[in-house]
Symmetry: C4
Subunit: 286 residues, 4 copies
């Protein structure tokens, strides 16, 4: 018993083994690491397809057990992978709290939860998020930095977007209720209550327009036309916000570096470094 | 009688009482003021939910009286609040004419009007606009300034947007009539008259596309395709307007002037003027 | 007879009468001119409403004759107005060929044509375009210049927009045919022939989405999803074109004037006039 | 036999004949070349119309043989043209691998393939792409350079767009599955399986909104509203990407460098450098 515990302790602190596993699982430069990453990608895609296929009613009953087994296999594989990542990571806590750590955990959990609650199994679809790794695997670092710029633009725009959304929520509630007042008493109306009318207002204002709920009276159609033109205009607002932020971010990125202090962010036409006052090089025409 | 009138006069000019109430109702820095504001927010949200829920036909009849009582309570609370605001405001007239003053009044009026006209009760939904206070309550001044930028961009763009809308109205009337001429005589057509056709033109041009009115002839579909491509392109115009205004506003905001040569165009974090090398004033963090 | 001819000649060259009529019809500064313009606007709006109302099938038969009379009156008024404009204009030919001259003529013609061909009467809707005068009437010159900026932006973007549209036409034909190949043989399909499929491709790509023609097979839905995502992305192209043009136009407009040669168009940071080389004034911070 | 081979050899190396044919087929400056190009354009448009018309079920059976003959004629013409182009091109290999070479080949192939597989005939629609030649025929070189700017903007934006699309794919799979979990068990639901739900998510998020699949429960409608607002916002992202790229490309195009101080940023019409006052080179009108 004592010996077994020792062996366990030894395993937990076997740094060379950890190193080897780390190279395979976390790195993608070595052949083994690359192979592992590609297998992982395939496993993720297949396990997503599995969840999707399983839901179709046309599936012949005879295939179901095989799919079940495959699901067990994939989940076992992902669980082992998660445990190994925890084991070989130099800082397991940090990994567990990182974005990928949480996604990796969420990718295995739904299966175990589904033993208790049936439909939870579909939550396995969270595995999709693991596909973001594809950028790391194929060394698409440039793409990641582009994604970063996108994300940064969205974050910088977020305050404006939140104000915009509060405004949209107020509009949608008011216009939905207005429409209920205009059409709600009509026989054969689709606007049976205010929640339905608010749902209609969202569908219309975002220009989705299912057509499952449509006005039938002249008054209702007139209000609808106003709502549509309103939605048509305010669709310009988030676009304007994001465009303006991207134009700014782009400008900031393309700027020059100071030969003295090395800091970037100088506009095309600057003559002196704005941080240390040193003269900047004349930009050669590109 | 005289005494009672005096007491009333006294109450109306009791400055210390006014001050105390003002601190609770208008300020949100003191604990009492903050508590009041949060209660107010909750009351607003609940009274909106009340209006929404009341409209659903699935509501069991036994609950209705309770909801009725709640509505009385909320309206009484909002009415009292409005009167107190008028009472303790240093300049009641100015408050009554301000945006929030009007919204506060409108939030209580529909209830009283509904004693005369039934459906007016749903106008209580105007209470939604009181939610804009949320920014003040949670000290989201930054957000307000963002909202300000949004609003300013829209105001600066408004002339262009109005011209654009007159153009859209002319297009919609013309294209709707054109479509009526093309499809109106067809048996089984959806384009029964010109107002309906104009409504269709709005639905199509804004890319909402309910599908309750659709062309069935080849000619009609051809015109529709033109209308759609037109709508698809002119959706670019308001977006372009707002984007261009936002890019300009953003630039204007981020610019500083050099104390030596007076030239502007320095980025937010610049320390030295990029034209003459003079030191710039440190921009206070906003 | 000779005398009558002379009177006619006299009338045609009565410059002081022409001047008076010109002041009323073309100018909008004098009280008479303003009154005339406002009456004209009202007449235009009412005659449009007339056309719209006449088309509705719910109209009681007893009212129809009255509407008919009104239509005669309006058309007589517009015809007289057009002839007077031709008469009093200092350069009748130029007026007749101007945008407003053509619209004014088109506003009266359909009525006379409809004596020959029935449905042509609805072409009277072209009167809508006369509403553009509203800017002149209410002295909204600023708005006209804004409209000018809008128009200029569209004209400058037009080459790019034409290239874009040829691309869209090619896409729509190709994708429509592809869809016909994928779904056309299916029993109960909506894709009965290639023109219908092309119409569907336009409806889908512009994100209108009526839903009158929808895919039912897995393959068809997959292609649809691709078409939608494509449409979703290329909607960005015209918006980008117009936005970029507007940003540039805006910049060009807001630039400075040279104290020497008076020409504008200098960027904010310019030191010397780019036309005559004179030193520019330092722009005061606004 | 030998003689015939010689004649063939002679034909293959007859440079003056090649030159003549080249002038007609490839050039569009000579009258013959222009005529040929216009005939070609007409043939392309007519052959596309042919494919489109042939698919309609309303076509009387008596016309079909004539259309068949026309199709043979056009395909023979295009095949001959392709062979002649190969023959007279100074560098046949380069032509065969160029964009137009491949399109020209693809324009003839489907006909021959359709002798083996029926529906492949519709692939002839690829002829649409030959219409791009229209720019060359009508000397719209300016338009081509505009198209180039468009293409370049898209290429420069492509990395960001790819990252954006991976994000959209992940969102669509996740939200589709979420919706299946919310509505899939409901009786009479449209969300019969996960692929259908993912298709719905694409339809909704791109704001197409057919309405063939719509939520019926309150929960489902709430999730839908979230998906719509999400789609409404992220529609801003590709637009922002393309707008920002176009603003930058536009700026880059309009800039010139000073021959004295080397600084860029001079507007198109500038005569003197705005920094050192030196004369700028006159930009040749393009």
């Amino acid at each position: 018993m004592e010996k077994r515990k020792n062996r366990w302790q030894e395993f937990l602190h076997n740094e060379s083994l950890k190193r080897k596993i780390y190279d395979v699982i976390f790195e993608s430069d070595t052949p083994a690491g690359k192979l592992f990453d590609i297998c992982l990608m395939l496993a993720i895609v297949m396990s997503i397809l599995l969840v999707v296929i399983e839901s179709t009613p046309y599936l012949p009953a005879s295939i179901k057990p095989y799919l079940m087994v495959l699901e067990y296999v994939f989940t076992f594989f992902f669980t082992m992978e998660y445990l190994l990542r925890l084991y070989c990571s130099p800082n397991p806590k940090k990994y567990a709290c990182s974005f990928f750590g949480i996604v990796d955990l969420l990718a295995t959990l739904p299966f175990y939860i589904s033993w208790l609650f049936g439909p939870a199994r579909y939550l396995m679809i969270v595995r999709t998020f693991r596909l973001i790794r594809v950028f790391r695997v194929f060394k698409l670092f440039n793409f990641l930095s582009e994604g970063n710029l996108l994300l940064r633009s969205l974050v910088y725009s977020s305050k404006k977007l939140i104000v915009f959304f509060l405004f949209v929520v107020i509009m949608v509630i008011s216009l939905g209720t207005l429409m209920y007042m205009a059409e709600g008493q009509e026989p054969g109306t689709d606007f049976v209550d205010i929640p339905t009318s608010i749902y209609w207002a969202v569908v219309t204002m975002t220009t989705v327009g299912y057509g499952d709920i449509t006005p039938i009276t002249g008054m209702g159609r007139f209000i609808s036309a106003i709502v549509m033109l309103l939605g048509y205009t305010i669709i310009a607002v988030p676009t304007g916000i994001v465009s303006a932020t991207m134009v700014r971010e782009q400008e900031r990125e393309s700027h020059r570096h100071c030969p003295n202090c090395g800091r970037s962010g100088h506009p095309e036409k600057a003559v002196y470094c704005q941080y240390c006052g040193a003269e900047l090089e004349i930009q050669s025409p590109d």
